[in-house]
């Protein structure tokens, strides 16, 4: 901060004639609209005083570039007009690293003659720190310098594409924004500034960041100028700060040098080299984090420089992406298994064989009948096979599914184009027990709606149909669970559930059965 007060004191000493002495904190300019808050510097080449001020009308802070000069001097007036024109052009330019020009005031339009001013460039206020204050604590690391500078280089590049000169060739016009990058805070290029001056200024700023010295003429008095070598040229940054990488040092020197081989004259070229150097510097910094200039490590504002995201290059991302891919595939496989199990769980209970209304009826039936016949626990047959006395087929292999204790696994007939008994008189399942049981009841679970069955008993697993005695007459199966109760318990070793009418619809007749259970009569 002491630097700023020094600067403020130094200003009146300069040869520029200021009239009225209105340029002091608390004073107002621009027809009373802007109240001056603090002077941040002066660009003596054009008599531009750089102030932070308060816009009384919009109640916001602005950055003012006050062009001080004698209105009677036609040369000064012409130069000021030219600067204002250029600033007005820049108003159309938008870049995060350049403060937007809000207004341009000239003598007679916004400035009264008594103010001693030739013009004012009003731009938005850039929060952050003065570049000079940052440098005052010592030079920054090469990698940090690159990071700070890069957005500004991009701004220059884009401005040059639009044919605009930014006028960044004075360190006090630049501020360090809150995210730690350089920003042109006080636009208003010199009347004779060229594109080349902008590029040179980039080299100058790089030099300044690396060494803490300003290599271009016309810098602020408070700043040490860069030493010149015996040949009259500026010494490369490396000879002041030995830790600066060769690439960066050369970049700064080549940009500053006028003419000669290997000079860098365009911002695009500067950006290209800077990016390469930045990459190298960053790598270097990671490897040798102990060998950096001691000043940089003690930088109290060091926190600013760490806002850069960790390096995140595509090859690393690719590895992460591969990992995520595997993870997602595994997760979805598990989800699918859970989902399928849920479907299986919910759907079998509700019985997908018909409308829900019937399920309810089916559920009521056993409740009514239960007291009528007392039965023991079900007896599982030793064997079950498809009983098909007049044909073949009908999922012979799947017959055991009907007695496996799981109603969700089905035995199913073939699909018949025509209803029984067109092709054959029927088809059935024949269950055989180890020894004869006293059969009282058969329950059929999960049978296809519309199916009609009989229960028959026989002496062999595969008798002639006529030899198998009907013990339960033809009954239509509706609902998820149907009980077929024998009028009186019958001793039997082989029980046949004989389908006389298939479920399904026209053209696609078929019956499936989820489970058969055979209950013996209760022992008295």
């Amino acid at each position: 901060m002491n630097r700023r007060t020094e600067q403020a004191e130094a200003a009146p000493v300069t040869s520029i004639r200021t009239r009225g002495g209105s340029l002091a904190p608390g004073g107002v300019v621009g027809d009373g609209r802007y109240r001056l808050l603090a002077q941040l510097g002066v660009d003596q080449r054009s008599g531009a005083h750089l102030w932070r001020a308060r816009d009384g009308q919009l109640r916001r802070d602005v950055a003012l570039t006050l062009l001080v000069g004698d209105a009677a001097d036609p040369e000064a007036a012409r130069a000021a007009r030219r600067t204002l024109e250029r600033a007005a052009h820049a108003a159309q330019f938008n870049h995060p690293s350049v403060a937007r020009v809000l207004d341009v005031l000239s003598l007679g339009s916004g400035i009264s003659a008594g103010e001693g001013l030739l013009g004012i460039v009003v731009s938005e206020w850039s929060k952050g720190t003065d570049l000079i204050d940052v440098i005052a604590d010592g030079p920054v690391t090469p990698a940090a310098a690159c990071r700070m500078l890069e957005p500004l280089v991009d701004a220059v590049e884009q401005a040059h594409n639009h044919g605009l000169v930014l006028g960044i060739d004075h360190p006090q016009r630049i501020r360090v924004s809150q995210d730690g990058v350089l920003r042109l805070a006080f636009p208003g290029p010199l009347p004779n500034a060229t594109l080349r001056d902008d590029v040179k200024a980039l080299g100058g700023l790089l030099y300044l960041l690396l060494t803490g010295r300003w290599p271009l003429p016309g810098g602020p008095g408070v700043m040490q100028p860069a030493p010149q070598g015996p040949n009259g040229r500026i010494v490369p940054p490396r000879s002041i700060s030995p830790w600066v990488p060769q690439e960066l040092s050369a970049l700064a020197s080549h940009t500053l040098a006028d003419g000669g081989e290997g000079g860098i004259r365009t911002s695009a070229a500067f950006l290209r080299v800077l990016r390469q150097a930045a990459e190298a510097a960053e790598r270097e910094e990671l490897i040798q984090s102990g060998q950096l200039p001691p000043d940089a490590n003690q930088d109290p504002d060091g926190a600013i420089w760490t806002t850069q995201r960790p390096t995140n290059d595509p090859s690393q991302r690719k590895k992460v992406a591969l990992g995520v891919t595997l993870l997602v595939v595994a997760t979805v496989a598990i989800l699918a298994w859970v989902g399928l199990s849920l479907i299986s769980f919910f759907e079998t209970d509700e019985g997908a064989t018909g409308p829900e209304v019937n399920v309810a009826e089916g559920a009521k039936q056993p409740g009514k009948k239960k007291p009528a016949s007392t039965t023991n626990d079900a007896v599982t047959p030793a064997q079950i096979q498809v009983y098909n006395p007049e044909g073949t087929g009908d999922s012979v292999d799947r017959a055991p599914k009907a007695i496996d204790g799981d109603p969700s696994t089905l035995w199913k007939t073939d699909v018949y184009k025509q209803q029984l008994p067109a092709l054959k008189s029927g088809v059935g399942l024949s269950a055989s027990f180890d020894k004869p049981i006293d059969l009282a009841k058969v329950t059929v679970h999960g049978a296809t709606e519309g199916t009609k069955v009989e229960v028959r008993v026989a002496d062999s697993p595969n008798p002639f149909l006529d030899d198998a005695r009907v013990v339960v007459k033809e009954t239509e199966l509706t609902g998820d669970k149907v009980e077929l109760t024998l009028p009186k318990p019958t001793k039997a070793q082989h029980v046949i559930v004989w389908i006389t009418q298939l479920g399904g619809t026209e053209g696609e007749f078929a019956t499936s059965i989820g489970e058969l259970k055979f209950y013996p009569a209760a022992q008295p």
Binding site: G354, K412, V415
Partner: protein, 586 residues
Amino acid sequence: MAAGPSWPTADPDQLRPFEELTTMLPRISAASQTGFIRSVDAGPETGLIAAVDKEPSLARSTGKIAIASLISRITGFLWKIMLVWVVGIGVVNDSFNVANTLPNIVYELLLGGVLASIVVPLLVRAQDDPDGGEAYTQRLLTVALTLLGGATVVAVLAAPLFTSLYVDSSTNQANPELTTAFAYLLLPQILFYGVFALLMAVLNAKQIFGPPAWAPVVNNLVVMATILVFAVVPGEISLDPVRMGDIKLLVLGVGVTLGIVAQAAMLVPPLLRTGFRPKWNWGIDHRMREFGGLAMWIVAYVAVSQVGYVVTTRVLTAGDAGGMTAYYNAWLLFQLPYGVIGVSLLTAIMPRMSRAAADGNTKKLISDLSYASRISTVALLPIAAVMTVVGSSIGVALFSLGKGGAGSGAERLGEALGIGAFGLLPYALVMLQLRVFYAMKDARTPTLIMLVMTAVKVPLLYLCPVLLDSHQIVLGAMLVNSLTFLVGAVLGQVWLWVRLGNLRSKRVLGVILFTLFASAIGALAAVGVGWLIPDSLPPALGAWLKLIVQSIVGFGVTIAMLAVLKVDELKPITTRLNALRNKLLK
């Protein structure tokens, strides 16, 4: 998206994100030939204001094309419902569906991808030729039609082979003979699909968009008439043995093929009106070779997606009869909200994204992608939630008329829809992401993503018959399908991140979570209202009542919740929907 050969594909797994290329490549060529870009609905935000200002008629015609494609989607769905009413959800419909997708598959493999990636862009470029592209067009038609004609003959001869590939008859649930019989009648569509696509491309290159957009509607009308005739003519389709002479079989097969013929024929008069004279002109244009690599990846994409489809049909045909029909129609229903709402929301953004990708403007591309993802979320998640609740009602309401009412097929179809509904948003996101890849000229990553999706899908599909009863397989297949899109959406996002860096996924995720919460509340409200409707009503009436009441309550509550949560993305959707409504009323 209204541009490019985007006829309603009969194949449910046929996603054509690579159509992006047909809207993309012409941009690089002469600026004067930007027909394909402008053909995409140029809303006020597209930045194509200059083009719109110059040619207001074009802007108006794109609106009409949007309506035409909307109508063709709806009529296309209508005839599928009619078919269920008339034929039922059973083995006949299954066989027809499988057979009717075959020509599409063959066509896609042979020409679809190549057409989108090479032929159309070159066609547009050829308009700058001294002869206005006439020779190029003649050569193109000659070569393509010869190829397609030959392929059609081979395919018809190989119909039994196709059937044995797509139908698993080991469980006696399918009827391969009937599928083959239908295939003989339907496979000639290959040639006419090709003719339609080529003529459409030629007309689009000449800035004629109307007839190609309306032609699919004609196809749908012809098919509807066919179904009416089918219902009236006497007789049955005999299943055992299948007889080619059955009048009903012939009516359905020939009628549906005639629909595609009519669709292609519709485009001949407008083409002749442009002054184009068809002429036999054999030869390959040297310019076609430039794009070989791109085409290879796209053909690979189609082929990989076909593997998934083959497995799906095999698992479904091996399961219960009618499963294929239920799955197919559930899938079409599933796609409908994306097709109607999603696409109309994205028409303004897609060309902007394409241009940003072509210019290498990553920042803009990412912000547009993020925005498109967010509005898709807000538009589609509530629909998915309500669909989950009302799924079975939709099935019963739409499909239980006529023969569709027999058995529980219609309800199962609806349940499949409800179970799969959660995949709606992932599906839309995958389509969006793949289009971004194609816009960046990356045809490889989409194919690889498709490969992973298929690798997940196939084993899971084979798991269905193991874990599920045969009548539940369709539910499992729909679940697996949606999960696959979930995989795809995550992969798409992750690999886009590899390409582009930070995608602002957090913001998208935030909107998804907010919308999910709002939708869940809406869905709960819908479930609650559902209890108030008595079960004693006749099933169809009850289903309609439930569908209407639950949808109104579900959407109402969801939108109210979104408004309460102050989700910004709600606004563009309501305004767009109003605009769409006005457009339709006009």
